[in-house]
């Protein structure tokens, strides 16, 4: 790896010198305007031919925007969940430079010290290419509070939170370098991914107790720093009738050395300081081989094989995953295409018989302990599809897939040893003209021995979409999706046993419609979305001290629905002045009806989780161009989030106002 990286770095360093040399050998400046070309006509045909194939050397371009954004937030910072939470100067820079030998594109945007992004692409001839992206983001997290509902001394809350407004700062770096063989399709590549996060981990947890009638709950926060790195090194080449790629990936996830401790006050660990939220360091690697034939043949074959290993550095838990995929695409007739795909994935997870935390500095007060043997297994999937195009206006697609999942130690987890999933689907697309498109689809799925309750015994999914353009300036589209899951013989776990009983029926509707009008100087877009989800299923509740098998509630109901309205408008008042605005309003609510008399008194337990959230966002802007290279931009924004207010759900409402002014200059 070091060798490859060194070769690529040296190549990158040598490129400017090579570029200079190559530039000297390039014929004179190539024509860039129509007049240049007309002047060329006056020259001899030989000269014309020479200039015709000269690279159109484009002059460098640079666009700069510099300004200031004033921002004021009232209440919960989450009203502006992503982005700067304070006023700050803003900068936006965009530049490009294209010559035959060197081609470069760069963008930089800074909204605050924690909110920025950059995107740089560089290419030297057909020999070297680089793309790098950096992205910094501040996230204003939700701040949940534990609510003390009464004066019962058996239940206590200890608040040890540190940050009034918890935040998460992340920096993501992606880079890719490719070194091409001159004149032949083969290359070496290195890809890097670095993801660094500093987060106020705001945790609520059980501080100790031991039993359910006397609980001490803690509300604690600590600063958690994690770093994730991934290096992907490989090569690919055209080799005779096929293409081949090999890649090796190094993966590492590390955390800051600090692991928080909590003083346990009751239960088996009473009087001890215990580690909590110990995010483990994990290392891994992966080898992948890919091979495919040309995608233009009547038969197209692609094969992928890989082996992945992963190890938890704290406990020694480890795993190996072998995976393989083969896809075949055949076009036996002009209007008919067949596809088949086979996937296999075998995972083998290991856990040491007894666990001792590897890092002694963590000072775990409990001795070696045993974990729960993880689940390994083999999953095989066969997917087939056929596409038939009776005419250029109509396409029909049929699909069938079969998934067979086998688990090695399913009995430890009280789940099915083998699950088989059958899926059938079809889709029709009709495009009689560019002004009309209609699509409809249906999918039916059956699952034999589902392992988890979200898996259905049978499921239906219907989709439809329509796009019409009644006038050249007007486009309207609508989509609809209906999903209905039916599940029999739910597996409901209660300490010590698994109850197999009851049923679940889930119905969801999704509707989205939009109308867009694009006139000469004005564009307007209006959108409406609706989402409804309803889950009626058997739930199980424990009695006190696990007496009996618990209460089965046959028709507990969880329902939610959301509405969204959005509007986007832009208008060019004159050649130099444009105005616009966009806004959205959403309302989301959910409620649980436990369907059991014991769960309804003294209040329904659904009361503690019911919610209504309303979000409003508005932004208006104007841009005035001064001459061909200067411009001024003004914008203003308003954001609001409100939650339902009740004694059980503390309000997390917030409002944000922003005003920004900037100057733009182009070169």
């Amino acid at each position: 790896v070091r060798g490859l990286v060194t070769i690529m770095m040296l190549s990158a360093l040598a490129l400017p010198a090579l570029a200079e040399k190559a530039d000297k050998g390039t014929p004179g400046a190539a024509p860039t305007t129509e007049d240049d070309f007309l002047r060329l006509w006056q020259k001899t045909s030989d000269e014309v031919q020479l200039m015709l194939h000269g690279f159109p050397e484009l002059p460098p371009e640079l666009n700069l925007e510099l300004g200031f954004r004033y921002l004021e937030i009232e209440g919960a910072g989450r009203v502006r969940e992503y982005g700067a939470s304070k006023s700050f100067p803003v900068l936006d820079l965009h530049g490009s430079y294209y010559t035959l030998t060197q081609r470069m594109h760069a963008e930089l945007r800074i909204d605050s010290p924690s909110d920025f992004d950059a995107d740089v692409a560089y290419r030297f001839k057909n020999l070297f290419a680089f793309r790098g992206m950096v992205n910094g983001l501040r996230r204003n997290l939700d701040r949940f509070s534990l609510v003390d509902l009464g004066a019962d001394q058996r239940f206590t809350i200890t608040d040890q939170t540190r940050a009034a407004q918890p935040t998460s700062d992340t920096i993501a770096v992606q880079a890719e370098g490719r070194l091409f063989a001159p004149g032949y399709p083969a290359k070496l590549f290195v890809k890097a991914w670095v993801f660094k996060r500093k987060r106020d981990a705001d945790m609520r947890m059980l501080g100790g107790s031991g039993y359910f009638d006397a609980l001490d709950r803690f509300d604690v926060s600590h600063r958690l720093e994690t770093l994730q790195t991934r290096l992907d090194v490989g090569a690919n080449a055209h080799v005779g009738p096929v293409e081949l790629e090999y890649a090796h990936v190094f993966d590492a996830f590390t955390r800051s050395s600090h692991v928080p401790k909590l003083a346990f006050t009751a239960g088996t660990l009473a009087g001890t300081d215990q580690l909590v939220d110990m995010v483990p360091a994990v290392t891994g690697s992966r080898d992948t081989i890919k091979l495919h034939t040309a995608a233009t043949g009547r038969l197209v074959l692609a094969v992928t094989g890989g082996r992945e290993s992963r190890e938890n550095r704290e406990t020694g838990a480890s795993g190996t995953i072998w995976s393989g995929t083969a896809t075949l695409r055949a076009t036996p007739a002009e209007r008919f295409t067949l596809g088949a795909r086979y996937d296999v994935r075998a995972s083998d997870w290991h856990l040491p018989a007894t666990i001792t935390v590897a890092d002694s500095s963590l000072n775990l007060s409990a001795g070696p302990y045993t974990g729960v043997r993880p689940m390994s297994g083999v999953t095989q999937t066969l997917r087939t599809n056929a596409t038939y195009r009776p005419s250029r206006l109509v396409s029909l697609l049929g699909e069938w897939s079969l998934e067979d999942k086998q688990r090695s130690n399913a009995e430890d987890w009280h789940v099915a040893k083998r699950t088989v999933r059958d899926t059938y689907g079809g889709r029709l697309m009709v495009r009689p003209s560019t002004a009309f498109e209609l699509g409809a689809g249906y999918k039916y799925e059956t699952v034999d021995s589902p392992a988890y309750n979200w898996d259905p015994t049978s499921s239906h999914r219907v989709t439809a979409n329509l796009k019409v353009r009644p006038l050249a300036a007007v486009t309207a589209s609508a989509t609809y999706e209906l999903v209905r899951h039916q599940r029999n013989n739910l597996q409901l776990t209660i300490p010590g046993t698994t109850v197999v009983d009851g049923a679940a029926r889930i119905t969801s509707h999704n509707v989205f419609a939009t109308v867009t009008v694009v006139a000469e100087q004005t564009s307007l877009s209006i959108a409406y979305g609706y989402q409804q989800f309803d889950d009626r299923q058997t739930m199980i509740y424990q009695t006190f001290a696990f007496e009996g098998a618990g209460f089965l509630a046959d028709r507990a109901d969880y329902a939610s629905q959301a509405h969204l309205v959005a509007l986007d408008l832009s208008h060019a008042v004159s050649e130099s002045l444009s105005v616009g605005g966009r806004g959205s309003w959403s309302s989301s609510e959910s409620h649980l009806d436990p369907s059991l008399s014991e769960a309804l008194a003294p209040v329904s337990l659904g009361t503690f989780s019911s919610q209504l959230i309303v979000q409003t966002r508005v932004e208006v802007y104007t841009r005035y161009a001064i001459g061909s290279s200067w411009g001024v931009r003004l914008s203003g924004g308003f954001d609001q989030i409100t939650y339902d207010r009740s004694q059980y759900n503390p309000a997390r409402d917030g409002k944000a106002y922003s005003v920004a002014a900037s100057v733009q200059k182009s070169w």
């Binding site: 031919q49 490009s96 963008e107 609520r204 059980l206 995608a295 689940m375 979200w454 979305g529």
Partner: protein, 335 residues
Amino acid sequence: MRRRLRLLLLAVAVPLTVVACKALRSAKPLGDMRDMQRMIAGRLDAAYVGNEGCLGACHFHDKLARHFEATTMGASMAAEQGVTQIDCESCHGPGSLAVEGISPDKVRADAAQGIQTACKHDTLIDFRGLPVTAQNLLCLNCHSTLATFNLHEWSDGAHARGEVACADCHPPHAGPDLIIPFRARSALCSRCHEATFAEMALPSRHPVREQKMSCTDCHDPHGASAGALVAPTVEETCTRCHGEVMGPFAFEHAEVIRDCTGCHSPHGAMNEALLPVSEPALCLRCHSGHFITAPGGGPSSLEQKGMFYTRCTDCHSSIHGTDLPSSRGRGTFTR
């Protein structure tokens, strides 16, 4: 001895590498599409005239051609590169009939009269008039045989089956830069996936609208091994950023952490943490609710209900998995 061995190995390896490279170069990198393109154009009598023929006859002053020349593909076809693989006719088909009767003199005379000389386009391949699959074949002719492995899964991908044209996202004459900037990627996807973008207006979502994430961070539009163009698995896609829940752990949440979409709705949800169903209802789908009755019978108190039925993760805080046992030595994710 060891040094001699190394020298011997080097002496064998260098000529072998040279021979291997020569063999590689002699392998045809591109399939011969010429007859196929003649058939697509519907003119078997057309001949290939090369860039000189096309540009020399009339296209030398065409802005489209100039912009294209400045792209990476254009850079490959520039004469200085010495690469002959890509030219106008690679996509547009044989051009002899299109430029028949057109000469620089005629173009110049027309230009002097303010007339743009008409090219006989109907003898070329009507690119956008072709079925999408055929359009894409013209692109794939080079882009699946030039060690471009981002198209390894293309043939089986949802976009290929859904008849999405390469040019829908990568218009080849759009300008000098064919790179899709990071900030522009999601807007490109939203043109077709409007309903998915509507989900991103729900209270819990990823920062796609803020242009801090793009769809391609999770989805590979060129095809991927898992469904919905997610590559290579849902678990790996999510843990690329959320490595703290990757494991393996001493106490795992069964297979739940191998498929995040069992509990989370990645495009957007009304509940915190991208949960389509809020706690405790989400957990109660599989697990029993804690004590619903008080000691001695009758409903449990307000305090108990509030504690057990607000958010399960208030106590089971390491719900994805943990290496630490709970206070009673079990794996109930309480720390």
